[in-house]
Amino acid sequence: MGAKDEAAFEAFVAARSGDLLRTAVLLTRDRGHAEDLLQTALVKAYRRWNRIGGDPYPYVRRVLVTTAASWRRLRTTQEIVALPAHEYATPDGTDVVDERQRMTDVLATLPPRMRAVLVLRYTEDLSEADTAELLGCSVHTVRSQTVRGLARLRALLGAGAPSIVLEEC
C-alpha cells in the first residue's frame, strides 16, 4: 500500500472506528469481542484498501456485520461461557439504565443474524432495503426476521430476566 493509501487508512480509522466499534458492541455485547471484530473487519479492508471505491465506511461496516453474523455463531459453548466479564456499568437503579441493560441482555440471546437485523434497523436506522443489501439477503428476509426478532424480544422481556441461549447443539 502506498503512502497516500496508508494516510487515507489512518484517517479513516481515526474518523470512523468509533462508530464501527459502537456497532460492533451492539452486535457482540462484549467490548473485547467487539474490538476483535472491528480489527478483523479493518484487516480485511486494509487488504484491499486501494480497491475500495468511494467512502470505505459502507464496505467496512458490511464486513463487520457479516463477520459477526457468521463467525460469532460458530463459537462453542465453552468459549462463550469463558467470555470476559461485561464491562458495562452495573444497573444503577434508574429506570432508563435498567431498561437498557435488560434490552441489551435479551438482544444478546437472539441468533446473530436476527440480532444484526434489529441492530441495523433500529440502532443504525437503516432501511429494510439497506439492511438487506448489507446482510446479503432479501428484503423479505429482513422483514420476517424483524417481526420474529421483535416477537422474541417481547416474549423474553415479558418473561422477566432472560436466559442466555447457549450456542450449541
Binding site: 472491528l38 464486513v63 457479516t66 455463531r73 446479503g136 439477503c137 432479501s138 417481547r154 447443539c169
Partner: protein, 460 residues
Amino acid sequence: MTISDTELEAGLRSLRARADEIPPPPSDLARRTRERYRAQRRSRAALAAGGLVALVVLVGVPVAASTILTGEGQTATPSGHTSTPATRTGLYGLPTRGDLADDEEWLAAVTALDWGPVDTSLLPAGMEVPDPSVGSRRVAFAGDVASGRVALVLGMDGRNLGFAWFLGPEDAEPDEMALATMPGVVGADGFLGLVDAPSPDALEQSLIVVATPGDTMTWKGPSIVSASGEVDEQTVPLDLDDGIGTHEVSVPFTWDVDVRGPGNQRRGGSLTDSDRSRPGGSAQGIPADVAIADPRGLATMTVRDNAAYIARSVLDEYALGAADAQPTLLAAGPLGVRGDMFGELYGLTHLSGATEVWLTTYVPSRPDSGFQISRFPPAPVGQALMDRVIAVSAESCLLVSAPEGVQAQVLDRAGVVLTTIPLTQGAGAGPMNDPNASKVRVLDAAGSVVGEGPVTRAGE
C-alpha cells in the same frame, strides 16, 4: 401487559445512546491492524509454500439424495461405484458414539427401522437406494442435538456401505424416529454429515458430523464477492470431539465443510440436508426449486431439478437469495464430438455487481454417474452477466454466451480462426478441440464484430 412494537423499537434505539457511552477504540488501532494484516500475510505465505492453496473447485454432485460429496477421489454414487470395506473399517468399524451409545435396546430398535419407503418414481432412471440387511446394520452415532434426536445407521448393501440418517423429537423412542432424507452410500473412509432444522424457515441449522477420532474439521462461512471480483472467505475451525461435531450454523448453510484425517489428508464424505429443513419442503432427496432465469429459452434442454439444486448450493456459498443474485441459464448444449456429454452454463450477479459463472457437465444416459461442476473466478463490475462474452472450453467443446450475435469465431493467439460456432440469441455450443484456442470473436448477421472474450478452460 403486552409490550408494543413501538416500545420495543424505542428500547432498541435507546441502545444507541448506551453504545455512545463506551470508551473510544485504542488510539493505535490502525497500527495494530497493520501488524495483524502482516502476520496473516506471513501465515498465508507459509500455507501457500506448503501447497495447500486450492485454485479450482470441482465438486461431484450426485443426482439423488440431495447430497453434496466433498473431497477428492471419493465420488460416492447411489448405485454400484463405491469401494468395498474388506472388513469393518472406517466409520463402519468404529463403536457407536453419542449420548445413546450405551443404550443397547434403543440402538437395536433403530437398526431395525425401515430404510424406506422411498418413492422411486421420483428418482432418475438407474438410481437405486441402498437397503442393507438388518443384520449388517449398526449405529454409528445416536444422540440429541438442538433440532432433536439424531441417529446415523450404517449397513452393507452388497459391496456398498450404505447410510441412513434418522430424526425424531428430543428423547424420541425408536418408533418415533423417521428417515431424515433418502439413504445414500459413502466410501469406506469417508465422513458423514447431516444439516437439519425443525423447519425450512429456521434461522439456524444443526450440523452433525460423524468422522474418525483424531480428524479435524473447518467450515467456510458465507463468502462476500467485492466489486473487483475478489472473494472474501471466512474459514472457521469447528470442534470434533472423538470424531463427532455438533454445531449450530447460520442459514443459509454454505456446505463447505473440510474434514482432514491423518497427515492432514482431506477426507471424502457426504453432507446431506434433511427433507424438513429444505426450502420448499421437497421430499426424499429431490432438490428444492430455485428460480433460474431463462432469457434464451434453453431450459427445456436442461435437467432442471439438478440445475436448481446446484444453483442453490452456489447461492448458499455466498448466503445469497435467488431473487437477489438472479441465477441465469446462459448456454447449453452437447459437449464433445461423441455427443455423450452435455454442458449447461449458468451465471449469477453478486450484490456488489460482480458476476460469476459455473459449468455443469454430465452424461444424460448415465444419471447415476453424477454431475461435475466447474466454477470460474468472479468477474469484476463492468458488464452485466448477459452482456459478457463468455467462452468455456470443456470436453472437446466450447460453450459460448454473448449479448447477441449469430456466430462465434474461435481464434488462436495469432488471430487465426480455428473454427466457428453458430449462436442463437447469443448462445451456442460446438466442437472445439484445439488447445491453441485463445479467444472468441462474436459476429452479428451482417458480419460485424459485436464482442470478444477469452476462452476459459474448465478445470484450469
